[in-house]
């Protein structure tokens, strides 16, 4: 079985995000970019499936600017077998919307015919949480979102999902789309020998036009704002004062 993992190049999770002065988005100039952390978990899961003998090949796909090549090299260094870059934007500030991403992925999947797609549940830049679900709908495939455990059982995948207030285990017929949640696994660090091998692994480059997908924007960002600055706390002298303050605030 072939496993396909879509990965997105996003602003590094350690970087303090700066909103552009005109509020049109986030400033990405000279900012460290990395693989979306949920996608990293998805890559790790796919590699583990291959190591467990449940999959033969792990293919990673990224859709965006040319620089996403670095993100794909990271995935190859972790252990993916080959990569596909679909160049769909020239400006690093242009985000490809989930529907366009899902349509391009459908084109890639039609060519690659994977048995399983493992994606991150959402990208940490726009928090859409939509691509995996849209992709399942476009393909007419089974869908298991927010996975915290994935087991392959013949032509089915048994997926434990993190839902409000607990866990839900479902069995989905493959081919299927699984989206990875935070606790699915802890991604490995790419080892030095694998980083060196990654350079020699195949990386195909395509464009959105190759799949006949229109990536023009359907959504307009009206405003982007930083969260309100946290107010300074108050020092209390003793427990009685603390209790009084909490009562005052209606907390107890």
């Amino acid at each position: 079985m072939k496993v396909l993992v879509p990965v997105k190049r996003v602003i590094d999770y350690n970087v303090k995000v700066r909103v552009k002065a005109d509020g049109s988005g986030v400033d990405l100039a000279n900012v460290k970019m990395s693989m979306n952390p949920f996608d990293e978990i998805a890559v790790e899961e796919a590699i583990r499936l291959r190591e467990a003998g449940k999959a033969e090949e792990v293919v990673v796909v990224s859709i965006g600017v040319k620089q996403a090549q670095e993100t794909l090299r990271t995935a190859l260094a972790m252990g993916a077998d080959r990569a596909i870059l679909v160049v769909a934007a020239e400006d690093v500030h242009q985000d490809i919307e989930p529907l366009a991403v899902a349509k391009i992925l459908k084109g890639v999947i039609d060519e690659e015919q994977p048995g399983l797609v493992i994606a991150g549940k959402q990208a940490i830049d726009n928090d859409m949480n939509a691509t995996g679900q849209m992709l399942a709908a476009l393909l007419g495939w089974s869908q298991a979102a927010f996975a915290s455990k994935v087991e392959i059982d013949g032509d089915h995948a048994v997926v434990t999902r993190e839902v409000d207030g607990g866990l839900q285990t479902i069995k989905v017929k493959m081919p299927a789309i699984v989206t990875a949640d935070l606790r699915l696994n802890e991604p490995r660090y790419a080892s030095l020998p694998n980083i060196m091998k990654a350079k020699k692994k195949p990386l195909d480059e395509k464009t959105a036009d190759d799949y006949g997908v229109d990536v023009s924007l359907r959504l307009e960002i009206v405003k982007t704002a930083e969260p309100p600055v946290r107010q300074a706390g108050v020092k209390v002298a003793d427990v009685d004062e603390l209790v009084a303050k909490l009562k005052e605030a209606g907390a107890i």
């Binding site: 660090y189 790419a190 080892s191 030095l192 990654a198 350079k199």
Partner: protein
Amino acid sequence: MDFRFTEEQDMMADVVRGLLADHCQPADLRRLMASNEARDSARWAHIVELGLGGILVPEDKGGLGLAPVDFVQLAEAAGYAALPEPLVENAGVALPLLAALVPADHPVLTRALAGEITVALAHPANPMVADADSAGAILTVAGDTVHLTTPEAAGLVHQPSSDPFRRLHTLANVAGETLATGAQPALDAAFDRGALFAAAQMVGIAQRCVDLAVDYAKERQQFGKPIGSYQAIKHHLATCQVKIEFARPVLYAAAADLPNGDLHSRARISQAKLAATEAADLATRTAIQVHGAMGYSWEVDVHFFLKRAVALASWWGDAALHRDRVAARVMTQPLGPEFTFARES
């Protein structure tokens, strides 16, 4: 000529920085210090998994066959984290020396490359041996002969250290299995690597101290404003950053030049050691001052970095020795822009 690091070199550095950011924070150092240990086995296991041990060992000896310039950013990252484990001394200095003196199937080399043991080096340039007690083997030197021994056979005598994570020892007995005679060129190369990677660690230490001080200066308020908004603070920190920015290219040039092993490359390495030592000295002292009256206390994380900088300043040659090496180049060879990249013997 393209002086930038390659994508692979940056990726290796990112991986090591990420690992150390996850597993080697000041809170981890405090825990280790409280346990009176100098090594965290879980963190070391992660480092071993990265396959770092053989990075500078030639491929025909079982290593990755990479160059010092591939390792320099990793050593810098180790300094930035004040990494207690001997990654730099083991992978950067001792293992390439061992590999240069023994066949590929030598059991100590094989075990060291597999990450089962570390190798300590009793180089004549250093008065003591670092981390000899936790090493599986020790390389000792008598004249230009290199011996291989064990911590048990060497009769380790514990010596005080300013850095709680650098266990220092002298050896009562340097005799052991003779690996090579006439090994002076290999020992000189080990010295150059030691000095270069000590410089890299000190650039990392300097940067960490500036980062710690900047974070504190943004948070600590005086007269209703963060102290970092006052010129008395920000100018000091800017001066430290300038020192670092001037040390870093010297360091990277020295790393690229080290394999030439000539007068020119030795001068570059010594210049890097001098520049990095000055940057680390200024940055650690300034960070202490920026932290105010508590700056020198154990409550503030700066002391880990200060102690490492103090330890490394005279390790692999003190300032006087390195000034002499720079002078040997400056006084005997033509100077000027047209000679910047000239090679001479």
